[in-house]
Point group: none
Chain length 196, copies 4
DNA sequence: AATGAATGAGCGTTCATTCAT
DNA sequence: TATGAATGAACGCTCATTCAT
């Protein structure tokens, strides 16, 4: 069945090309014509692969939420101490800053539009993605505590959001290093006190 | 003897009523008719007070960015230790969760649309708001370090973002308390080590 | 009854101020707000004196069609020969070029809008004006022949129209003088031939 | 394999269908919906072929100003004397009275709207058309004198304007015949006097 | 599979007009 | 009398979507 493979693969290629456009303009402000043009196809072709603008957007979100977290984390592996891990995370954020900002735009946009609907498959798509992130974070940082994982994820989200808001004074590496120090001290203390 | 209306005050009243609507649908997806209806006025009246949808949105952002941070922080005052302060912050976030989520939606939306323009007065409106937040945070927590202030703000932003994404497992009080502990330990340690 | 006099006189003043505005933009393109602003009054006041935009326009046309032709022709009197009369007419056209062009704009506009209606009082307003012009022309030029009067009026209309179209090469005096010569020769010839 | 349509040709067909509508209502008073309906297409299709109402109007004026004058004059050829020529012109005017009146409405309308702009290409479109008319008139009547050509054109314009104003007593043939006589006499006289 | 012409509901905005003051 | 705030139908125009090719 080579045809189906082609069709599906081409669909995914188109989805990837969509990402920037949706991130820049937002779901409500971008038009199907602009999307088609940005992809170098006609509107007819666009509708050949996606049944509606909404479907296109949902598939895009699905796609980016499925981009394998573990693959990304592979880049971060090989750190021995928490401090090193956090420094590596900081560098990783700097390197992919643009991508994470776009990702945040798309994700927030998606949430906004979910509200006004029946949250069709929000929970599934969404929460699965979030869980994967949490698990990856736990694994990477060698942390088991779910609250602590949430804590770290929130902090990273917040850093990106701050950058998205145009605060150029934020330094990802500096901030992550700071978190690293705090975590180290905190975990030591915790161990000590729990021993006591 | 014209009809007596305090033009400017009524304008601000309308702005306040806009907030929820823009937060729920987003700039690109809400229509002027919906806004007018939501405010209980006609589209004509809407345009009597705002020259365009864009102007309305910008004035809304200006308005909400001017809502006095200090007034909000008054509610948080009276804490003695950092731990108490963070716990109070947690409770405050819980209490105003909806507002902060909406605020985030509007702000992100605004950033997205600023990109495609000359950022007219973005810096002024925007950065002033951010600075006010940082200063308030410093004052409230008794922290001078700007990096640390950014750290805390990022964390709070991230918490809200996490909730905005639908993660209902996050507990603001728990998370803030955790941050309180970490900060306490970290600052103690820092003092100790700098003394040593 | 001083009040009624005031009211009516003010109404006519307003009408006069309208003329330029209607001439420049045309009935369909000018707005009541623009008219009110151009007159230095509010829209409310405008509607206090005129029941509708249409009524305003009709009264304007009525007004300018009633501006006394004879008064204008007084300026032209005192010529002895047809040649002199035509030269005087030429100078008169040059002097009032702007007014006649505006007059033509308004008049054509009015005709265009009459078509789509029941020609309410078009005939009366309109044809009376035209008849007055013809009579004045006959008297001024000492011509009895109605066909000849139409001929001359048409020519004058055409001159103005040509100017309205932007043909700046047209010289009213030159053209009127030419018509003077032609009429002189023609009438002589005619007399001669009818005598013969 | 897209739907096969000769875009440019269809555009011109649509333009031709516009003429009557613009002539009857005027640029400012006709709506795009009315135009679309009058053409038997949707507003969307209208905008597929014309970028704006203004562009549509300008292209219409361009189109009708390019309609070849010489083709029209072909119908008038074959006259031997000036008298015959003028009589033929009169009959031609009678025959095309409606068209010329509409043409005048559109042209005057166009002039009115040009005033408020930078007269983009008015001069070119406009003056070229006028020149063509003058040349055609000269050729047709065997007249070289530019002043005389302007004289005749003005007269013809004036005749049409008189009809446009609703003067139904005007007889094109009668008037043109009169002009023919006057020209004949005048030119004879001129020759005589210049010989003398 | 791919195109782009076609649609008409709906968008942001403006309009003539009304009415409380 | 005079104002300008208020209205909502209608404007020019755009949109997601369909369909003939």
């Amino acid at each position: 069945m080579p045809k189906i493979v082609d069709h599906d693969q081409y669909r995914k290629e188109l989805l990837c090309k969509c990402f920037d456009l949706f991130a820049q303009k937002g779901y409500g402000s971008i038009t199907m014509r602009q999307i088609a043009q940005g992809m170098g196809v006609s509107t007819g072709t666009l509708y050949h692969y996606f049944s509606s603008k909404e479907a296109l957007f949902e598939q895009l979100v699905e796609e980016i939420s499925q981009q394998d977290v573990s693959a990304a984390l592979a880049e971060l592996e090989g750190t021995e101490t928490l401090q090193e891990a956090m420094a590596a995370l900081g560098r990783y954020l700097v390197k992919n800053e643009d991508y994470f900002i776009k990702w945040t735009f798309v994700w927030v946009d998606f949430c906004q539009h979910q509200d006004s609907k029946k949250m069709l498959n929000q929970s599934s798509v969404f929460k699965r993605a979030n869980q994967r992130y949490q698990q990856a974070a736990c694994k990477f940082l060698g942390v088991q505590d779910k609250v602590l994982a949430s804590f770290i994820l929130s902090f990273v989200n917040g850093l990106i959001l701050e950058k998205l808001w145009g605060d150029e004074t934020i330094d990802f590496v500096e901030q992550c290093t700071l978190l690293g120090k705090m975590l180290t001290v905190y975990l030591q203390q915790n161990v000590t006190s729990s021993v006591n």
